[in-house]
Every structure is written in structure tokens, then in C-alpha cells.
């Protein structure tokens, strides 16, 4: 077991009735790493995480967390993991402090309720009922609860889904802090920003399979360093013409925008301006962006993440 990864997932398969949720998912996460499962809704992220948490049984494949099998290890396993589930709740009339104390009482090794409330900005809400909390506060409580037992491995399933950008940033800060504590974190998300900002390594999941894996940087490099140019014009264009501009490898339309993927950006822009002059068309806006994970996802699957 020397140098074994903290989380190992091998060839995981799971079907619900006719739906094949997982079709051979494999990856591994090292000690102290923040690993992201990135993919659209229904890609199989939650199924994977819930199998790792021991909430679901896989049809086939193997998983281990710190060398333990979530299905058979029982309490010993529960002691070392912390989890913030995606679809869960607490009783409406449970108070913040009570929830932390209650869940803390299940573990021999635990963190102080006061410390957790302070850290997650819940002190003012310590006596508030669960039903009175806002979405962001509920999520902060869920994160605090995931840490009551000071776990070695933390599972965060869509920790920022449905939250507004400001609250999302607060959650990022918290996760950044956990990273400093050298916790091993497995996080699922369909926000590109989140994966790029927080994760050491990312696996892109689609239709129950890992379609790419690596550090965000590696993934971008692998995509062939194609830069995206987003253009908006006063008159619509026929795609064919833009596609044949110098350096353009691909052209897509998205609402009123044209997305040009180019390997030689300066030349493409010169060619674009010339083309527009000939067509008596005018630029409304132009934006150049380095390839993001979003583009990689698009490149690999032909779809955007949030479709």
C-alpha cells in the first residue's frame, strides 16, 4: 500500500433502470490534493461521489478511500470522511449550534462547535433554525458539518450550486483554507471557474465517463492552445466565410456571438477586419480569451457545459 493514492476509483459502473449513469469511471486522488470532477448535470459526478461516500453501491468496479472500502468498512470509514451532500437537509427546527453538536457527538475525535461557527461565519446564526437560514448559510453549515470530525478526506458535491456569485466566492475562500490544511478534497462542480480556481487536478466527466484528466494547465495545453475570439457584428454573417479566415480552426455561433477558434490570433483578426470591410459589416465587440476548461469541454464533447 506504499504510495497508494488516497482515493482510488477503478472502472466504476452503475445503472438506474435503463439509464447508464456510470460507464467505467476511473481516477485517483493523492493525499492532500484538491481534485475536481467537472461535468454537466447528469454526467455521473454525484453518483461517483455517493459511491465513494458509501451511500450507493456500484454495479461493478472498485473504489477505496484511504485503503478502506466504503461499503464494508463501517464506522472506521465514516470516522475519516466528511461530506457535504448535494440533496440533503436538516430538520427545519434544528438550530445551527445543535446541528454541529449533534453531528459532532457521533465522532470520538471532533472539532469545537464554537471554532467551526466562527470559521464559517455562523456565529450570529448560532441559535437560528435551519429553516431560517439562507442558501449560502445552509451551505456554510453543510461545510462546517463536513468538518466536525476533522476528516482526512472531504467530499463536496456541488458546494456552490445555486448560490449567487458573492456567496460562491466566500465558499471558495473556505475551500482554499481547507487546501492549506492539507485535506484531501474531492469536489464536483459544473462551474468552470470553480474547477480552475480551486482544483489541483480535474477530471472532466461526461455521459458516465472520464473524458480528460490532468491539472487545469495540462488540460489547456493538451487542447492545442486554441484561442477563442468572440465577435459580435451589426449584421449576421454566414458561417462559411468566417470559417475560412486565416488561422481559424473552428467557428461556432452562440446567440448573436460568433466564436472563432484560432491558432494564429493576430492574423485571424487582420483577416476578420478585412472581411468585414468587404462585406460592409461592422464590429460591435471583440473579445480574445485564452483557452479555458469550458473550451476544452466544448472541444471534447461538442457541447457547452451548462446545456
Amino acid at each position: 500500500m506504499l504510495n497508494a493514492a488516497t482515493i482510488e476509483v477503478e472502472n466504476l459502473a452503475k445503472r438506474y433502470g435503463d439509464v447508464e449513469a456510470l460507464r467505467g469511471v476511473s481516477f485517483s486522488v493523492n493525499e492532500g490534493e484538491v481534485f475536481g470532477l467537472l461535468g454537466p448535470n447528469g454526467a455521473g459526478k454525484t453518483s461517483t461521489v455517493e459511491i465513494l461516500e458509501g451511500l450507493r453501491t456500484p454495479d461493478s468496479g472498485r473504489v477505496s478511500v484511504c485503503g478502506l472500502d466504503p461499503q464494508t468498512s463501517g464506522v472506521e470509514f465514516k470516522y475519516i470522511i466528511g461530506a457535504a451532500l448535494q440533496s440533503t437537509a436538516l430538520p427545519d427546527k434544528m438550530r445551527v449550534r445543535e446541528a454541529l453538536e449533534l453531528f459532532g457527538s457521533f465522532y470520538p475525535r471532533r472539532r469545537g462547535t464554537v471554532e467551526l461557527m466562527k470559521r464559517f461565519g455562523l456565529e450570529e446564526k448560532r441559535n437560528a433554525f435551519y429553516s431560517q437560514l439562507s442558501g449560502g448559510q445552509k451551505q456554510r453549515l453543510a461545510l462546517a458539518m463536513a468538518l466536525v470530525n476533522d476528516p482526512r478526506v472531504v467530499f463536496l458535491d456541488e458546494p456552490t450550486a445555486g448560490l449567487d456569485p458573492q456567496v460562491r466566492r466566500e465558499i471558495y475562500d473556505i475551500i482554499e483554507e481547507l487546501k492549506k490544511e492539507k485535506k484531501t478534497i474531492l469536489l464536483t462542480t459544473h462551474y468552470i471557474e470553480e474547477a480552475e480556481k480551486l482544483c489541483d487536478r480535474v477530471a472532466i466527466v461526461d455521459h458516465g465517463k472520464v473524458i480528460a484528466e490532468g491539472t487545469p494547465r495540462e488540460l489547456k495545453q493538451r487542447s492545442g492552445a486554441v484561442t477563442r475570439i468572440t465577435v459580435r457584428m451589426t449584421k449576421p454573417e454566414t458561417n462559411g466565410a468566417l470559417n475560412s479566415l486565416e488561422g481559424v480552426t473552428e467557428c461556432r455561433t452562440e446567440a448573436e456571438d460568433y466564436l472563432l477558434y484560432s491558432t494564429r490570433v493576430p492574423r485571424t483578426i487582420v483577416a476578420l477586419v478585412k472581411h468585414l470591410e468587404e462585406q460592409n459589416n461592422e464590429l460591435v465587440s471583440l473579445e480574445i480569451s485564452a483557452p479555458s476548461l469550458e473550451d476544452i469541454f466544448l472541444e471534447l464533447t461538442g457541447r457547452r457545459l451548462r446545456d
Binding site: 451511500l55 470522511i81 461530506a83 451532500l85 430538520p91 449533534l102 453531528f103 465522532y107
Partner: protein, 285 residues
């Protein structure tokens, strides 16, 4: 210790329902006659105890549907610990209601004796656990709140009307009585009546206590066996078989009671206690 902590989650019950029953029984049927009070109180106590049947099953299904149970599952909590803690908290919430009912009967409705309190306590304890566990079984074999409500409703009405908790047992038609001896509720009601009116000690209530204890134990084991954490996992077919297994001891018990029991005789005698010996001198109010 951990159980006690957990209980905090379950502290939301009301006393209103049983107390409403208490008052309506006392005023409707008792009409201010003190000697009727023990009989009626026994009925109300039985109803209070049987109320556990509803409370816990509905709560468990709510918790499951809202995904609250899943959160507990990620923590080191076992199914039987979950169930035991909810039973325990339900029990501790039932006790004050029982105490209030006694208090009101003694001081507001002028009940003269308190019956055999030890017997009452034992019966209430076993009854609460039994009925709550039966409710938990229903919660585990049904998949949605609607199903739970329907099944609960059906079983509840059976318990309510043919156990003697609402209509005195001797007034039920013979055929219904024959069925009623197969129900745990019947034993609870008549056991309580004997304890209240005849001051019967636990030693003489062996059959009643044994039946409720058996019910509590089996129902709890079955409930633990059937427990489901996740709203998505449906009740397997074998769950219904397990639930059916919970009924078996009552078939045996009912059969025994039909052959040798004295339940009916006692029920009749206790019903009369309500009228005698003062039935003629109506106290007007």
C-alpha cells in the same frame, strides 16, 4: 449519551390531540361522574400511546423524503441507533402528556384512585414502543408520504374502533370482538382498564405485558431490518414479507386468547364499573 444528544432532533410533538380527546370523552361520556373517569382515562391513555403510531412514521418519512436521513448516513450512525433514539425521544415526549392526563383526571374530573400506577407505567412504556415501532414499519414499507398516510389511516382506524379505545369492547358485535383479540391495541386498552379500575398488578397482567413486549421487540427488529435511508431506494418486495412477519405473534396470541382468555369477561366487568354503583344518582351540573 449519544442517544440523548440525538434526541434533540426530535422534540417537536404536541399534547393537544390527546388532551382534546380527554376533554371530549370526559364531558361527553363521563358527564361529571367521578366513577366513570378511570374507565375513560384508560381509553384516553391508550389513545395517547397509540398516537405514537402516527407521529414517528410520518416523521421518518418526512426525514427520508427531505434527504435528512442521508446526511445521518454519512455519519457513523446505524439504522437501529436512529430508530432507537427516535423511539426513546417519542417515549419521553409521551410521558408528560400521560402525566398531564392523570393530573387533570385527578384534580379536574375528581377521579378518586389512581389505579395501579406501576402497571399503567409498564403498559404505557411497552405500548408506546410497540406502536411507534409499528409506525416505523409502515414508514419503511411505503415509498411516499401519501402511501404512508393511507396505510396509517387504515391501520389507525382499525386500532381505534375495534380495540375498545373508542367504543367499549363489550359493545362491539361478537364477530368484531373475535377479530379484535388479534390486535395489540386491544391488549393495551384492556390492560390499561384493568390497571386503572381493578388495580391489577403487573404479575396478573402477564399476558398483556408479554403480548406488548413481544410486539415491541418484533416490531422494532422488523423496523430496523427494513429501514431505508434514501428516498430513491424503493422498498423491496421482501419488505412486505417482513412486515407480515410482525403480525404472526398476534395470530398466535389471538388464537390463545380466543380459546382460554379472560379478556372479554374483564372488559365487561370494567365497563359496568362506569355505571355502578352510583349510576342512579345523576349529578347535575
Amino acid at each position: 449519551m449519544r442517544l440523548a444528544m440525538r434526541n434533540r432532533a426530535f422534540f417537536f410533538f404536541s399534547m393537544i390531540m390527546p388532551l382534546a380527546f380527554l376533554f371530549s370523552y370526559m364531558t361527553l361520556f363521563g358527564r361529571g361522574r367521578a366513577q366513570a373517569v378511570p374507565y375513560l382515562l384508560a381509553m384516553v391513555l391508550a389513545l395517547t400511546v397509540m398516537g405514537s403510531f402516527w407521529g414517528l412514521s410520518v416523521q421518518l418519512v418526512t426525514f427520508r423524503e427531505q434527504g435528512i436521513l442521508r446526511r445521518f448516513r454519512v455519519a457513523p450512525v446505524t439504522a437501529s441507533a436512529m430508530l432507537a433514539s427516535s423511539l426513546l425521544s417519542n417515549y419521553f415526549l409521551t410521558l408528560p402528556t400521560i402525566a398531564v392526563e392523570f393530573f387533570l383526571c385527578r384534580f379536574v374530573f375528581h377521579m378518586t384512585g389512581l389505579g395501579n400506577l406501576i402497571s399503567v407505567f409498564v403498559l404505557v412504556t411497552l405500548g408506546t414502543v410497540s406502536f411507534a415501532s409499528l409506525g416505523l414499519i409502515v414508514a419503511s414499507v411505503t415509498n411516499t408520504m401519501q402511501e404512508t398516510q393511507i396505510i396509517n389511516q387504515i391501520i389507525w382506524f382499525i386500532f381505534l374502533f375495534i380495540s375498545g379505545a373508542t367504543i367499549p369492547f363489550p359493545l362491539l358485535p361478537g364477530a368484531v370482538q373475535a377479530v379484535a383479540v388479534f390486535l395489540p391495541a386491544t391488549y393495551l386498552v384492556s390492560g390499561l382498564q384493568r390497571a386503572m379500575i381493578e388495580h391489577t398488578g403487573i404479575a396478573s397482567l402477564g399476558m398483556y405485558i408479554a403480548s406488548l413486549m413481544g410486539c415491541a421487540l418484533i416490531a422494532f427488529l422488523v423496523a430496523a431490518q427494513l429501514f431505508r435511508w434514501d428516498p430513491e431506494t424503493k422498498a423491496p418486495r421482501r419488505a412486505k414479507l417482513w412486515a407480515a412477519a410482525a403480525i404472526v405473534p398476534f395470530l398466535l396470541l389471538g388464537a390463545w386468547e380466543t380459546l382460554n382468555g379472560d379478556l372479554r369477561a374483564h372488559a365487561m366487568k370494567n365497563l359496568r364499573s362506569m355505571r355502578e354503583p352510583y349510576s342512579l344518582e345523576r349529578i347535575d351540573h
